[in-house]
């Protein structure tokens, strides 16, 4: 019986380990390709990676002006339901840039990105599965907030 119980527990642990792989782990040094490879690894999706296109054409001039200086590299891939999911390799300073834009009245609310370590993704739905976080900002401070499981 003990053996059977141990096997049952082991099965649960195996599953937990598999789920734990969905932590934000891409190496920003791997660039957009690294983020895409990680998404493909943990979700099985993120195909048709495209790089080097006009960021402002994707997000418009307002957000391009705010985000642009803090993006080292960007690209997109297809990951349902997103036909074009943005993958951003970040440089430090985006929080300050967003708050400055808030103060100037150029943007409102919070950045429309979800964040990992040194990178961000433009989607929202399903991102809580990946351990990514939202950034909630006021004029004086920003805070990374885990995306709640409902």
């Amino acid at each position: 019986m003990r053996v059977l119980l141990a096997l049952f527990v082991a099965g649960s642990v195996v599953c937990a380990i598999l789920v734990a792989r969905a932590e934000p782990a891409p190496d920003p040094a791997g660039g957009v390709d690294g983020i895409a490879a990680w998404l493909q690894q943990v979700t099985g999706e993120c195909t048709g990676v495209r790089k080097g296109e006009d960021f402002a054409a994707f997000v418009g001039p307002v957000r391009a002006k705010v985000y642009g200086p803090y993006i080292a590299e960007w690209g997109t891939c297809s990951k349902p339901p997103y036909e074009q999911l943005g993958l951003l390799v970040l440089r430090p300073g985006l929080e300050e840039g967003w708050r400055a834009a808030l103060a100037r009245g150029e943007v409102k609310g919070d950045p429309d990105l979800v964040f990992g370590d040194g990178f961000a993704i433009t989607g929202s739905t399903g991102m809580e599965h990946l351990g990514l976080k939202r950034l909630e900002c006021t004029l004086t401070a920003c805070a990374l907030i885990p995306i709640k499981h409902h």
Binding site: F8, G11, F55, A56, V59, T125
Partner: protein, 419 residues
């Protein structure tokens, strides 16, 4: 041995089930009938590109993409506030009802040419709302009051005080919610404003559907293709184009003159003068007609014309700054001032870009580097520079050594001053 393996599998399955029940259901959606602004502009963009990209032709959709980029249309189902919790009138200011966040702000533009859906007053219809997965919540549908003016910012007080339709947990099938509703007694142009407040989360979704109440049938018939344009009055910087008119069942409201994929002129007649051209240059133009319902005709045949040897774009000034540099890279901002009395269409700025650096990202333009020169072209929303106007763009560059700032720029082949 079979039993232990089965238990191992059951354990894994139970683990998976425990994880699954703690994961959120995916909730994203928007009204697809009558179609929301983001949905109909997305559909317009798909049709305009022929698939694979988004190139809307409806003027309001074009303007929305120019302001907010294509991403809000790729994400046409994500017009939401994640922590609304029913506080819609408290947290969404007047003028922002159709796009309460920066990402969707472009869909607040007060203009009359958004794609519309023809509906019948007092009719019982099936409302349809896209959803990626079932999720509990309540939908409220409001309509604008009599006398509503779509060319003014939509305010909460523009809506009838009570929703004409309200439903909780409507039936779901084939990826969309659908339910029967009786439309209100209205006539003419209105907005149906839909609020979806989830009951298992503070997240709420917002959509504006532009409708025309009446008894007629929707206009889905595009105008016929314009005839081949004929060029005349060619100068070093302009050309007059005339073309045989299109016909339409309700009437043509606009002609758009394209150079490549860019609209370089619009007119309500079948004649226009395109200005801001460079001298001694070949240009090919074509024309598309549109009607008030946003239907676009097939393209006319193209006409190619070579401009004369007169003066070109006139004086331009380029201001080049580097607000940020670091070991191995820099950010550059570029401002082009058009000091001439004519607009510069489809601008292209060229400057020396020696080896030892590469453009890693850019914004408000597209930049290519070849043969030691960088070429920046305007984005869809700033491809033209009005007479006396300016255009700004920027880029990040990675460097492997010292680089010097450019010492000369040419705009559409004409040298620019550097202050």
């Amino acid at each position: 041995m079979r039993k232990p393996i089965a238990l191992l599998a059951i354990g894994a399955a139970v683990g998976a089930l425990l994880v699954q029940t703690s994961a959120p259901a995916l909730a994203h959606g928007s009204m697809v009938w009558p179609g929301s602004r983001t949905y109909l502009c997305y559909q317009d963009g798909r049709a305009g590109s022929g698939g694979g990209d988004l190139q809307p032709t409806n003027p309001a959709c074009v303007a929305a993409v120019a302001q907010g980029g294509k991403q809000p249309l790729w994400d046409w189902y994500g017009n939401l506030i994640s922590n609304a919790a029913g506080r819609h009138r408290e947290i969404v200011p007047d003028g922002d009802l159709c796009g309460p966040t920066t990402k969707y702000d472009a869909y607040n533009q007060p203009r009359a040419d958004w794609p519309t859906t023809q509906v019948t007053a007092n009719a019982t219809v099936t409302l349809k709302y896209n959803a990626w997965a079932p999720h509990p919540g309540t939908w409220e549908q409001y309509v604008t009051k009599d006398g509503f003016d779509v060319t003014k910012p939509l305010k909460w007080s523009d809506l009838e005080p009570a929703p004409f339709d309200k439903i909780t947990n409507p039936p779901l099938g084939n990826g969309e919610y659908s339910w029967q509703a009786r439309l209100p007694n209205k006539s003419g142009r209105h907005i149906i404003y839909s609020l979806w407040q989830r009951s298992d989360s503070p997240e709420a979704f917002y959509s504006c559907s532009d409708v025309v109440f009446g008894g007629g049938v929707p206009d889905t018939q595009p105008p016929t293709a314009p005839g081949a344009p004929v060029a005349s009055s060619v100068t070093g910087s302009s050309v007059r184009l005339d073309w045989p008119a299109s016909s339409d069942n309700f009437g043509v409201t606009e002609y758009r003159v394209y150079r490549g994929d860019q609209v370089v002129a619009t007119t309500t007649t079948n004649s226009v003068t395109v200005r801001g051209l460079s001298s001694n240059t070949d240009y090919t133009f074509r024309v598309v007609a549109a009607d008030s319902a946003g239907n676009a005709s097939p393209s006319s045949p193209g006409v190619t014309v070579r401009t004369g040897s007169g003066t070109g774009t006139g004086a331009c000034t380029v201001t080049y700054t580097k607000p940020s540099t670091w070991n191995g890279g820099y950010t550059a901002n570029v401002k082009i001032a058009n000091g001439s009395s004519e607009a510069v269409r489809a601008w292209e700025l060229v400057w020396d870009f020696p080896a030892g650096q590469r453009v890693s990202s850019y914004w408000s333009s597209s930049i290519t580097v070849a043969d030691g020169k960088a070429t920046a072209k305007g984005a869809s929303y700033n491809a033209d520079i009005a007479a006396g106007g300016t255009a700004e763009f920027g880029f990040n560059a990675a460097t492997t050594g010292a680089v010097t700032d450019p010492v000369s720029f040419t705009l559409n082949g004409v040298s620019c001053a550097i202050p």
